[in-house]
């Protein structure tokens, strides 16, 4: 049995009377790629918001490497090694491409504001390290985000490149666990294929453990070690892609019951 990196234990969340996530248990092993699937409104993004500390669970516990994340601020959770992308891209649009990535190094750099003002040798060294690290993160995507693009504002990037930049930014926080929220949304078939490959490389070369929300079943099939299906905030199936895809409850969640369809 591999070492557990992320443990979600009996987590629940309500918005008023609405139960968004109910008594959810998910484990993710180190080095694993786990996909979360489910119809719209199943609570997938809410799950990410719970892990990253944007919401606080009403019950249950979330452990990273055995230590609880509940009650920490999102930036503290990021510094513990959890990073994410957003379904609706949230880049720093008016900052340059490289600055987007460099900004994410904030949590694991130290130079204070007075040292920055005086540009002390230590601060300058750290700044060079940040830049080198950022360029390394961008180089992960081949030529796409390199060269002249570094100094262009992020809004000038194409949609697909923005998705890539967001992944680059997420990895610049030096995470162990990477949460990708629909990385293939809005991509054309060629780009979707590339994203599938990329997620594999992120695990194999980058060494990240990955939890990914995805609607494109080809992507899910291509990357997942394990699939978790959610519906109405409840885990309805878990296992290999084939197991989950043929699970009657999953089919029902996506397509409805036969009885309901023929009514």
């Amino acid at each position: 049995m591999a070492e557990k990196l992320l443990e979600i234990k009996g987590v629940s969340l309500n918005f008023g009377g609405l139960s968004v996530v109910a008594d959810l248990d998910i484990d993710v092993d180190r080095g694993e790629i786990v996909s979360v699937i489910g119809p719209n409104g199943a609570g997938k993004t809410t799950l990410f918001n719970l892990i990253t500390g944007i919401y606080r669970p009403a019950a249950g516990d979330i452990l990273l490497g055995g230590k609880s994340l509940v009650g920490l601020q999102p930036h503290q959770i990021s510094q513990r090694g959890v990073s994410r992308t957003f379904q609706m891209l949230r880049l720093f649009l008016n900052m340059s491409v490289i600055e987007n990535v460099m900004a994410a190094a904030y949590g694991n750099t130290r130079a204070g504001v007075f040292r920055s003002m005086l540009r002390t040798p230590g601060m300058r060294r750290e700044e060079r390290e940040i830049r080198a690290h950022a360029s390394e993160r961008l180089a992960f995507f081949g030529e796409r985000l390199m060269g002249y693009r570094w100094d262009q504002p992020a809004y000038s990037l194409s949609y697909a490149n923005r998705r890539r930049l967001e992944i680059a930014r997420a990895t610049a926080t030096r995470p162990t666990l990477l949460l990708l929220d629909e990385p293939a949304a809005g991509m054309n078939p060629a780009e979707t294929h590339e994203i599938t490959e990329l997620i594999g490389r992120l695990r194999d070369d980058g060494g990240y453990t990955i939890l990914v929300i995805e609607h494109d079943m080809h992507v899910v099939e291509g990357i997942s070690d394990r699939v978790v299906a959610l519906d109405h905030g409840v885990k309805i199936a878990e296992g290999s892609f084939d197991q989950v895809a043929t699970d009657p409850r999953v089919v029902e969640a996506y397509l409805g019951t036969k009885a309901a369809a023929t009514k």
Binding site: H75, S83, A103, A111, V113, M117, Q152, S156
Partner: protein, 490 residues
């Protein structure tokens, strides 16, 4: 620029095909390569490092006292440097942090008052500059921090209201501070008027030399400005600066990427406040007095105008904004110059709205003709209606065109003033030919109001011209003179 050749065929050499968005994304790259005889020069200008520009700028500013020996001009120069410092401070909070701080001038006032208490006869404290200035800066930073505390969870309009309330609080305390538990602290509405100039090691900085503004203060202010500019530039290009701008762009994403948003907000507030307080020490020590109403809405609006005009977020921009607005407000005090500025602003506005088109010519001719006809008719009815004098610049042109009565009836100013506003509002509602027909009479009415009403009241007139400039700017360069192009959602 290693991979700069655009792909001629549909498929790039490596990796899967990326759609035509690649072509769009490379558009800017292709445009970077300039052609023509000016291209090498532009390259060379771009290659000049920032510190060379700054040295040049400060060097030119240093020459001001050599250009003019007038104490008034030098004082305007000094005030402009103070404006530049305030604009730099506000730029930290608004331009980088993205926090709409409407209490900013309270920190300027706080700095001025703190210095006044530390070096005046109020408490008979006379601290030397090397003690007083650091203390005031720390007080400013702490006050900024304290204002930031309740503001951590607020943004946008909520934050604006809370900070505005803080400005009002400062005003109230300063105005009523002559009896705080029976002690006279702030001197009340009359302020403190025994503030000493900056002094250290037995020497004090000369304020006046033979009744004329001495330049030593100007140079001290310029030195402070340069130090602040350089320090802020370094901060902006550090992890703190990047984090501030991330916070402005998207606080949630910044927080998720490991940046402590609340701490960063407090830092931005503290920084802006400390700079404002530092500027306040220079102001108080020069003016020898502090009055509550100096630090109020008018000043707040002026500094915001500078930041917006120059380009919020751009250091060079806000300095330019201060450099334009500061002296402009002084020029507008003088009716001779303000009339020229008014008509130039009017023509510029028309140019912006209509470009160099046939319609523009038509409107100008129609407005001029309308004016001459109106004046001729008015003169024919009663000569005293047009026999008033119009002193100041352009008077020969204006007095033959605008109706300037010898005696203005009491009802005329309010009615025509409201009339201009109503006509301007009407113009926004109508379209097409009707608008073109209504425009000349409206312009003429505006000129009438300006020459008969506003010119005798320079203070509101100044701010109306300021408003006109901002409106024109909003249309031509929505991001300010030197602002970067900004997008909200793409």
């Amino acid at each position: 620029m290693t991979d700069s050749t655009p792909h001629s065929s549909g498929t790039p050499a490596t990796g899967p095909a990326v759609g035509q968005d690649e072509w769009v994304a490379r558009h800017a790259e292709r445009r970077l390569i300039r052609r023509g005889p000016l291209a090498p020069m532009e390259e060379r200008i771009r290659a000049v490092p920032w510190w060379a520009w700054l040295t040049l700028f400060v060097g030119v500013m240093c020459l001001l006292p050599a250009v003019s020996s007038s104490g008034y001009v030098r004082r305007v120069g000094f005030d402009t440097v103070l404006y530049m410092m305030l604009a730099l401070g506000l730029n930290v909070v608004v331009g980088w942090g993205g926090l709409l701080d409407l209490g900013f001038v309270a920190f300027y006032g706080l700095g001025a008052y703190s210095y006044a208490l530390l070096d005046s006869n109020q408490f008979h404290l006379h601290l030397p500059a090397y003690l007083a200035i650091p203390i005031v800066v720390v007080i400013g930073a702490i006050a900024g921090f304290l204002l930031g505390l309740p503001s951590r969870r607020l943004h946008g309009d909520y934050l604006a209201i809370v900070t505005l309330f803080f400005l009002q609080l400062f005003q109230t305390i300063a105005t009523n501070g002559d009896s705080i538990f029976g002690h006279n602290v702030t001197g009340g509405a009359f302020g403190i008027f025994t503030v000493k100039p900056l002094h250290a090691f037995g020497h004090s900085l000369t304020v006046q030399h033979g009744g004329v503004f001495a330049v030593s203060y100007y140079y001290v202010a310029l030195a402070f400005f340069t130090a602040i500019y350089v320090a802020l530039r370094f901060v902006n290009l550090s992890r703190t600066g990047r984090a501030w701008r991330s916070l402005r762009e998207d606080p949630l994403a910044a927080e998720a990427m490991g940046m402590p948003v609340n701490t960063l907000k407090l830092m931005a507030f503290s920084f802006g406040a400390a700079i404002a307080a530092l500027t306040g020490t220079l102001f108080a020590s020069l003016s020898a007095s502090v009055l509550p109403l100096t630090f109020y809405f008018v000043l707040l609006i002026t500094i915001y105008t500078m930041v917006i005009l120059g380009g919020s977020g751009s250091q060079r921009g806000v300095v330019l904004g201060a450099l334009v607005i500061g002296p402009l407000l002084e020029l507008l005090r003088d009716p001779n110059k303000s009339r020229v500025i008014f008509y130039v602003a009017l023509v510029t506005g028309l140019l912006v709205a209509f470009r160099l088109s046939r319609r523009l010519g038509l409107i100008v001719v129609a407005t001029l003709a309308f004016g001459f006809v109106c004046r001729a008719i008015a003169g024919a009815i009663d000569h005293s209606w047009v026999s008033g004098s119009a002193p100041g610049g352009l008077q020969h042109v204006v007095s033959h065109w605008v109706i300037i009565p010898k005696h203005l009836a009491g009802w005329v100013p309010p009615v025509t003033y409201i009339g201009v506003i109503a006509a301007a509002l009407l113009l926004t509602l109508v379209h097409g030919r009707l608008r073109l027909v209504l425009l000349p009479p409206t312009l003429y009415l505006a000129a009438f109001v300006w020459d008969n009403v506003m010119l005798t009241q320079p203070d509101p007139a100044r701010y109306i011209v300021l408003g006109l400039i901002l409106i024109a700017l909003m249309i031509v360069r929505p991001n300010g003179l030197l602002g970067e192009r900004r997008v909200e959602i793409v």
